[in-house]
């Protein structure tokens, strides 16, 4: 029994908060305490929470810009190479190639949007390390309510300031309910 207890490696401490407002205040306090490997979980994005957690703006926008640029380049090459070299098609006696740029613009526009949208869609999942089939936090039964109406703060054990006792007391001190230590199942 003692051997088994000693083997139980803590993964995280979970605390539930009753509302978005209390979660917001808790996040500010966890941030000020200097924790780094932690997150707040809520059924919807909470306005201003990035600031309360001390997170900057998501860098996704810059990545999407390059996705869109790739789409634009693809369209330029896709239209320019066939229309100028591979299959120069004279329509209405107009010159071939890129001398008639405006007529090539709609497809450039559409492919820019298409590639940006793909980058945005896949970017959000890559940045979030998703999809994944399982996560240890799903073993904590009350966490199922996070997609309904519950709010949680989770501090992970990989955080240098993590300690099974003080982190737990700290979360209880800032108003967390049902503060629970999650252990790895091994």
């Amino acid at each position: 029994m003692t051997a088994a207890a000693a083997r139980r490696r803590p993964l995280a401490v979970v605390a539930e908060f009753p509302s978005a407002a209390t979660l917001y205040q808790a996040a500010e306090q966890v941030r000020d305490k200097g924790y780094r490997f932690w997150d707040v979980h809520s059924p919807f994005p909470i306005h201003g929470m990035d600031k309360a957690m001390g997170l900057g703006k998501s860098p996704l926008g810059y990545i999407i810009f390059w996705g869109g640029f790739a789409g634009f380049l693809t369209a330029v090459l896709l239209e320019y190479i066939p229309s100028s070299f591979l299959y120069p098609l004279i329509v209405h006696g107009k010159p071939v190639g890129f001398f008639t740029v405006p007529a090539f613009v709609p497809i450039m526009f559409e492919l820019t949007i298409l590639f940006s949208a793909f980058t945005a869609f896949f970017g959000v999942f890559v940045m979030n390390r998703l999809p994944r089939l399982h996560h240890p936090i799903f073993d904590y039964e009350p966490f199922k309510r996070v997609t309904n109406d519950a709010f949680f703060v989770v501090i992970e054990s990989v955080d240098p300031r993590f300690s099974e006792t003080t982190t737990r007391e700290f979360l209880e001190g800032i108003g967390g309910r049902d503060v629970t230590v999650l252990y790895a199942n091994d």
Binding site: Y24, A27, P45, D50, M53, A120, P131
Partner: protein, 476 residues
């Protein structure tokens, strides 16, 4: 970014805004009510509805197969009316698709929070409308096995498509629109699929929703990127939605046919698309709202603002009709002038006057508040708009084509039964897909509706009934 405290105070409205969810419903109530639609047994009306629309859809598929096996001669199309109901239906459906993206993208950027109640179902409606739209250009080719000629893949013969042709722009615009709409819709669905996953009791439900939710945990580190992606997708979809119907209108506007060759087409088509799309959103949402008792989520205020958008866009469409007429008479082109006399007083006058009545006259009822808040008038006007927008495309396409420059080539067009039932079949496919959607996926964006509840505001304090809190307490 503004300081959250001061911005909350700055946005404090002097007049209290009507709440978006009535009766102070809780977050759990929203999850229960909306997920319950999927979890509980389907009501009898759903079964009746899907058996009717499913039968129409099946007969529509039969008509399409009959066309493919026999040839386009089974339609009434002829020379010079080479485009008739097929392209009318295509433009009709693609136009309906526009409301979904307008609601999900443009209203999101404008911070119109009421969109949360209807955005999911109208985005789904968009997808199904674009699916119906995609059928018609493909089957009107006659030889559907040649449809890949539209794509820039020169595999067997080194023939490339003409990238300067509006028809090819259309292929790119519509396929991009469909793809981006699917991505946007699915991204919005992920948090709600996680709700479905966490509520699921059956093994199949746990597996399917678990797989589709992609392991979503609702952490703010996830929401941060999610929200940014959603914002950027909305920003990308806004010009996209305006471009798609503009491109569709280029199919006509870049040709020389009188009645088509006008520069007013792109904005006129876009306004008409939003107009027809909102009417279709109401056509689908009003029965769904009654059937599933969503009155606290889709309130009369929602219906009221949608009616106002219909009134606005309908008036823009009315302005466009008037301006087309004015330019036809002010311009010195006798063919253009004839096209418009023929439009309103020629053999198809009934279609043109139906279009004017349904699209311009009927929505004017919505100036009166009582008509915007009466189910019967709202539904009646929406049905008029649905019919009117179909007539508009028929008027533009068939009436312009059937009498062009040379009287020797004039010819009337009459639809055959295959034309009629293919169109009815596409209506069947559309409504069947929508009914399946509300059966298996949450039809209202639960996480987004929760985010517009008053208690979702991080600076919200419950009304001071339990005790008096000093105002300084707001500062967190």
């Amino acid at each position: 970014m503004a300081d959250p405290v001061s911005s909350t105070i700055a946005f404090e409205s002097p007049v209290p805004r009507p709440s978006l969810v009535l009766n102070n419903r809780s977050m759990a109530w929203i999850s229960d009510r909306i997920a319950g639609i999927v979890e509980n047994r389907a009501p009898l009306l759903w079964w009746i509805g899907i058996s009717i629309t499913g039968s129409f859809a099946a007969f529509g598929v039969f008509c399409i197969l009959y066309l493919l096996f026999t040839g386009v001669g089974v339609w009434g199309n002829n020379v010079p009316v080479g485009w008739a109901w097929d392209i009318t239906n295509f433009v009709f459906w693609i136009g309906i698709g526009h409301a979904g993206t307008l609601i999900s993208a443009i209203l999101f950027l404008c911070r119109q929070k009421w969109r949360t109640a209807i955005n999911r179902s109208s985005e789904a409606m968009t997808l199904f409308a674009v699916i119906c739209a995609g059928i018609f250009p493909a089957i009107h080719l006659g030889r559907i096995w040649m449809v890949w000629f539209l794509a820039p893949i020169p595999v067997p013969n080194w023939i490339w498509p003409n990238f300067r042709s509006p028809l090819l722009w259309d292929v790119f615009a519509v396929s991009t629109y469909f793809t981006v709409s699917v991505l946007f819709w699915f991204l919005g669905l992920v948090p709600d699929l996680a709700t479905m996953r966490d509520r699921a009791r059956s093994k199949a439900g746990k597996f399917c929703y678990g797989l589709l939710a992609l392991g979503w945990r609702g952490g703010n580190r996830q929401w941060r990127h999610y929200h940014m992606a959603y914002l950027i997708l909305a920003g990308l979809s806004t010009p996209l939605v305006l471009s798609v119907h503009s491109t569709v209108s280029f199919d006509f506007a870049t040709s020389l046919i009188p009645g088509w060759h006008t520069t007013i087409f792109p904005p006129y088509f876009v306004a008409g698309a939003i107009f027809g799309g909102f009417a279709m959103v109401l056509t689908l949402m009003l029965p769904a709202r009654s059937l599933y008792k969503l009155h606290d989520v889709v309130t009369w205020n929602h219906i009221d603002v949608m009616c106002k958008i219909i009134l606005l866009t309908g008036s823009i469409v009315g302005y466009a009709y008037t301006m087309e007429l004015f330019v036809a008479f002010y311009g010195a082109n006798p063919f253009e002038r004839f096209a418009f006399i023929n439009r309103y007083f020629g053999p198809y006058w009934l279609a043109s006057w139906s279009m004017l009545t349904c699209n311009v006259l009927m929505p004017q009822l919505f100036w009166v508040r009582a008509f915007r808040r009466n189910l019967i008038t709202v539904y009646f006007v929406c049905m008029c708009v649905n019919a009117g927008m179909w007539f508009e495309r028929f008027v533009i396409i068939v009436i312009s084509l059937h009498r062009d420059f040379l009287p020797s080539s004039w010819r009337m067009y009459y639809p055959t039964w295959v034309d009629v039932f293919t169109f009815i079949g596409s209506l069947g496919i559309f409504i069947t897909l929508f009914l399946l959607f509300i059966r298996f996926l949450p039809m209202v964006a639960m996480s987004e509706v929760k985010s517009v509840l008053p208690e979702a505001d991080p600076h919200y304090h419950p009304p001071p009934t339990s005790g008096t809190e000093p105002i300084e307490e707001l500062r967190v």
